[in-house]
């Protein structure tokens, strides 16, 4: 029980360093959101795994038409984009905005390459007779990987927004955390892809 009252305004709590935990609100929000995303992908991956071993009535099994070397290369491209994302963050934290912009753009380009690879993959699968509606597996496969592709696309949009902000001088070093938060999202999407690539493409009993 205290009788002293501090007659000071509440520190502006939306600024990162005044919060109860010391973590900024924005970063904490991104972590919470990614926690939620885990269950979103968890649900889709589970559905795919449950349907993977069901007999297909029509059309090929999706595991028969994978092009593993091709997808390995595009997976490598996506993983490298995590590296460039880290370099972008390092750049802006150092105050080297030109380099930060280059790496942000590179990250977006690598992500776009991955998405382009996915579009190519989908097209070639359809040509081989595996449409979205063909069988149980194809619906589950396209939905899961397509959902991931949309996440990458949203990441690219965020990266391009960061690039534009930086170009206009609206992304100073004090706001490096913005890049870090986009980076969190980007790395999460990459980690999910590692899981999807392993479970969906590489392991099929």
């Amino acid at each position: 029980m205290t009788d002293t009252i501090v007659h000071a305004p509440i520190p502006d709590q939306s600024e990162g360093h005044h919060t109860s935990t010391g973590l900024s609100n924005e970063k904490l929000a991104m972590w919470a959101f990614l926690g939620s995303e885990c269950l979103l992908f968890g649900g889709l991956i589970s559905v795919f795994l449950i349907y993977r071993n069901k007999p297909v009535g029509v059309g090929p099994k999706v595991s028969q038409i994978y092009d593993i070397p091709f997808t390995s290369v595009s997976s490598f491209v996506l993983l490298m984009s995590s590296l460039t994302m880290v370099l972008a963050l390092a750049g802006i934290q150092r105050g080297d905005h030109r380099r930060a912009r280059i790496w942000i753009l590179t990250t977006a380009a690598l992500g776009a390459t991955f998405v382009a690879g996915q579009v190519y993959e989908f097209t070639s699968f359809v040509r081989e007779g595996l449409g979205y509606t063909t069988n149980l597996q194809s619906s589950a496969f396209y939905t899961l990987t397509g959902f991931h592709g949309v996440h990458v696309t949203i990441g690219i949009i965020m990266l391009l927004s960061l690039y534009t902000l930086s170009l206009r001088g609206n992304l100073p070093t004090e706001k490096a955390e913005t890049v870090e938060i986009v980076g969190l999202y980007w790395h999460f999407v990459d980690v999910v892809w590692i899981l999807i690539f392993t479970v969906v493409y590489l392991i099929h009993p």
Partner: protein
């Protein structure tokens, strides 16, 4: 160099005057009164009121649907509704009450109270908070917009596949349902992220986690449940939508789909949802009972940890909704056990409430009556729940009125009674006006009798074998009397609701001058009623649980409690000067307005979806690029030269983009 000191990024025109017009399209809203101030508000208190008012409106709609059902069933071979309409009535009743009434009412309390109870100026992301409300509202409107075209879902609130597939439900009713709930789900998800960050990060100095008021704690646990449960139902809704709109095969049994897939996905969400609906109501009565028992809450740490335990265990009991589905003996045995176990932390709560009441100087205000009713009625509902955990018994009860009786005892007798305890308790805080106690008592007893008359007989009907979701029953089954009593009870509840509305209207003249009329315990009572926009004139510091009570009372030399003459509250004679609150904004409304167009577009024409998507997309950029504090707005008369905080574009873009993507696909 903050972004706000420069020209906004997408500023189209030059000139000092236009700088405050983001995207060159509107002038920033500045009004503090009138309808415009309400649609642009980012104040957590006003958003709380908006949630509450919307939920009460949907409560009236869902209640009318319930009355239709009871009118139909009052007598054998009822002719009030056709079987098709009857299916629509119980589907929309359940969906409305769960998603558009109890969830937003609890969101109303959480929004209004959490920042006040933890001594904060607002939630962590006030503008995102406004966005959550508008998305919820448009989701609800979208869900009901199908009714205009006579496309109404008719498959029960859990909407089992494959019956909800195109083959068995060829109309668009189910599409309105799946899309509407996806939109509402975005609102819940954004709200959960916002309130979790608020509870973790925005606490006043000294407000440790174990000093947080119990309502805030229970609401926090419920937000975590939402955070992890909403994505699961989103997956289910999303797959069903793909099945129906784009020819997917997830629930098409003819193509080999697992007929239990939907049930698992739905109930993995659905059981945590039950605790989402009831835990904050537990929190409300845990605030009300100590105040009117004149005692601190008995076993506060046990209350906190039992709430957390319920939160965890709630994830391990979902298959008890599926005992009759042929899930197999091991599954049934495991889920029977876990269901019995989850009764333990709930029992801890019941005993702690009794412990709080024991030996207290009880004051039977209306709020207290509702709170005690929750304790008793939830206990009845909880016990009938335990009977379901015995799976042989459950096989007899499943799909009968016994189940209907059970979940109405926990959700109406529990959640809704708790919510109304909250209304009577916090009404003077929110509006500075008291609800009349005498009329309140009449309301309470009307509901107490009406509720038990409606749902008590359903136990008997269920054990006699009357099936749920069946439009009529034949004469001579022995069900006539109980059904008639139940229908009379339902209309009694309807009358009770009208009494409540009358009380609300009448309360306009019932101004209370004391900001703390109940002699309450927590921080929200330490400021004026209604609180100012900035909540507290003086920054709160906290040194104990029930901080406000400890400021009011001290232990004298005679070892008795004495009330201090002038307890130190957080109101000041002169309003403080340098408080920066986020400015109102149109953008949350615009982002949310795009979403129903995406929904209609997916059903009828992709052009509409494109329009909606564009609206939402532009809205997201508008919101992110608009400075959260209008640089031109006066802050209590001093020039603002520093710390106009800009929300991180990344977090908002990510959140909102995710929102868009959920709806886009």
């Amino acid at each position: 160099m903050a972004l706000t000191e420069e020209r906004p990024l997408l500023e189209l025109t030059a000139g000092d005057d236009e700088v405050r017009q983001p995207l060159g399209s509107f002038r920033r809203p500045t009004s503090t009164t009138g309808w415009r101030s309400w649609i642009t508000t980012v104040d957590h208190k006003r958003i709380g009121i908006l949630y509450g008012a919307t939920a009460l409106t949907f409560f009236a709609i869902g209640g009318l649907e319930a009355l239709l059902i009871r009118a139909q069933l009052a007598q054998p071979n009822g002719q009030v509704l056709s079987p098709e309409r009857y299916n629509q009535a119980f589907t929309m009743h359940g969906t409305t009450m769960v998603f558009l009434v109890i969830m937003p009412m609890l969101a109303a309390f959480a929004n209004y109270l959490i920042p006040l109870q933890i001594g904060a100026r607002d939630v962590a992301f006030p503008r995102l908070n406004a966005l959550s409300f508008w998305i919820f509202l448009f989701g609800g409107l979208f869900l009901y917009s199908g009714a205009v075209l006579d496309q109404i879902a008719d498959n029960g609130w859990f909407n089992y596949a494959p019956n909800s597939g195109v083959l068995y439900s060829p109309g668009h009713g189910i599409d309105f349902w799946t899309l509407g709930l996806q939109i509402a789900g975005i609102a819940s998800l954004l709200g959960a992220v916002n309130l979790i960050v608020t509870c973790i990060n925005m606490r006043a100095p000294g407000m440790t986690l174990m000093r947080m008021p119990i309502f805030t704690w229970m609401a926090l646990v419920a937000q975590f449940l939402l955070l992890f449960a909403i994505p699961v139902i989103t997956v289910a809704l999303f797959l069903l939508m793909f099945d129906r709109l784009f020819g997917g095969n997830f629930f098409v049994v003819q193509k080999g789909a697992d007929p239990l897939m939907w049930q698992h996905l739905f109930w993995i969400f659905g059981h945590p949802e039950v605790y989402i609906l009831v835990l904050p109501a537990f929190g409300i009565v845990s605030e009300v009972i100590p105040v009117f028992a004149r005692k601190p809450l008995f076993g506060y740490p046990f209350m906190v940890f039992s709430g957390i335990a319920i939160g965890f265990m709630g994830w391990g009991v979902w298959a008890h909704h599926m005992f009759a589905s042929g899930a197999g003996p091991v599954t049934v045995a495991a889920f029977s056990l876990s269901t019995m176990f989850i009764a333990v932390p709930t029992g801890v709560k019941i005993f702690n409430w009794i412990g709080t009441l024991w030996g207290g100087k009880l004051q039977f205000t209306t709020a207290m009556c509702f709170a005690i009713a929750l304790v008793s009625q939830f206990t009845i509902g909880g016990l009938s729940g335990v009977t379901h955990s015995i799976s042989p018994s459950d096989w007899q009860q499943t799909d009968t009125y016994y189940i209907v009786a059970h979940f109405h005892y926990v959700l109406f007798g529990g959640s809704v009674f708790g919510i109304f305890a909250g209304f009577y308790f916090w009404w003077p805080k929110v509006f500075g006006r008291c609800l009349d106690e005498k009329i309140g008592k009449i309301h309470f007893f009307t509901w107490l009798i009406g509720f038990n008359l409606t749902f008590g007989p359903m136990h008997v009907l269920g054990l006699q074998g009357q099936p749920r979701r069946t439009a009529t029953y034949a004469d001579g089954m022995g069900w006539n009397l109980m059904n008639l009593l139940s229908s009379i009870g339902a209309f009694t509840i309807g009358v009770g609701f009208l009494i409540f509305i009358f009380n609300v209207v009448k309360s306009r003249n019932n101004v209370v001058t004391d900001p703390d009329p109940w002699d309450a315990r927590t921080l929200e009572w330490a400021t004026s009623s209604p609180p100012p926009a900035h909540n507290f004139d003086i920054s709160p510091t906290v040194s104990s649980l029930d901080e406000w009570w400890h400021r009011k009372y001290e232990l004298g030399d005679d070892h008795k409690l004495h009330r201090r003459e002038h307890p130190e509250s957080f109101t000041a004679a002169t309003p403080p000067e340098n408080i920066h609150l986020p400015s109102p904004s149109y953008w949350p409304l615009i982002i949310a307005a795009g979403l129903p167009f995406i929904g209609w577009g997916l059903i009828y024409s992709y052009w509409l979806a494109g329009f909606g998507g564009l609206l939402t997309f532009v809205g997201i950029y508008g919101l992110v690029l608009e400075p959260s504090v209008d640089p031109d707005a006066g802050h209590h008369g001093h020039a603002d030269t520093h710390d106009t905080h800009e929300p991180e574009p990344a977090a908002v873009v990510a959140g909102a983009a995710e929102a868009e993507e959920d709806a886009d696909q």
